[in-house]
Symmetry: C2
Subunit: 212 residues, 2 copies
């Protein structure tokens, strides 16, 4: 089951979305309104909704099949709450998050690092962040094959933590059991075929496919 989670970032940064790919739609704060404006159902709305006008807020409350109102001052971000609630409902779903990049970089980093939290790590392979130019997937130690997305040119291995024995195969630039002591973005690598392989022994890696 595929779920689309729309965070509150600007719609101009969204990727191309085929809404028919998704069976359940989650809106975070302003993201709920954006989903309704696209003519989509709003299966779950989460947020304090303080970025909406009274009228917009009433619309979201009326149309949302479920909603969870958060406090304005709280420890978790609305996106964290939405992801937690979504995974409670559908622990095996694939979740694509849009509206989570661009603009304020403290927000982007909070979103980038979401899947590393202990509560979300068991679901790390099910979570993908997408925007107009980038697709971000997450990996725990192991050996993997990455499939090239048709519209993407670049392939990056972003070590979000120290990483041991990073090995890259079947790509333009190769590594053999590289030790990575601090977070490092091995950017601008490229596929040479339709897939690339990589492996590592400890840490967390975000693989980013991107285009100019």
């Amino acid at each position: 089951m595929n779920i689309l989670l729309v965070a509150g970032g600007s719609k101009k940064d969204w990727p191309q979305i085929d809404f028919s790919d998704y069976a359940f739609f989650v809106g975070v704060d302003r993201g709920g309104l954006l989903l309704l404006k696209e003519g989509q159902s709003l299966d779950l709305a989460v947020g304090d909704f303080d970025s909406l006008s009274q009228e917009e807020r009433l619309l979201v409350e009326k149309k949302a099949k479920r909603s969870q109102t958060s406090q304005a001052e709280k420890d978790d971000t609305d996106t964290q709450l939405a992801l937690e609630e979504t995974l409670k409902l559908f622990p095996k779903a694939s979740i694509t998050i849009v509206g989570a990049t661009g603009g304020r970089l403290d927000h982007f980093l909070a979103n980038l690092w979401l899947p590393m939290e202990a509560r979300f790590q068991p679901f790390i392979r099910q979570i993908v962040l997408k925007d107009e130019q980038n697709t971000i997937s997450y990996y725990l130690p192991g050996e993997y094959t990455v499939k090239r997305e048709a519209d993407k040119k670049y392939l990056a291995y972003c070590c979000l933590t120290p990483v041991e024995n990073l090995t890259l195969k079947d790509s333009k630039y190769l590594l053999d059991r590289q030790q990575v002591p601090v977070p490092t973005s091995y950017a601008s690598n490229e596929f040479v075929g339709e897939t690339a392989m990589f492996s590592f022994d400890s840490g967390v890696i975000a693989v980013i496919q991107s285009k100019d």
Copy 2:
């Protein structure tokens, strides 16, 4: 001495820049051309210049007081090379980097994490990344006072590594000796006065001041 380093990202993401604040201008690849178009001197140009037309490239080569041409296939990014060269020339300078955010997130992360590399860590307090909405400064363990920028509302403590005993004072949200086991963005904090204090005992923190 203040140095402006212009990386190759789009000019639309630049902050407001008062060029008279800077005494030395570094252009990375397309960034060199952008500096010339602003009517600024180009004291150092670094890059493989493959993003420029033949005509643009000739202009950069003619106008640059120094230049360092990198190979298209290399281990370091052009921004890494430019920062290294700049710090060799002026090891005590304050370096503001623009054009390093937005667009491809593998590039942004490479830039975000630059100051954590062993070769740049001794200079970590001298390096600032800026764009239209964000100012990013870097800190090694210690106790610090952050001064509010006039146009910024939000204050975030982004732990780029695990961090021990993070304490936040004089701000809207407080922490007392918090243990941070994975990279975490404490986003959307706010100043309550003109300064805020924080301290920590291990790791690296990026402080981001931002506005909507």
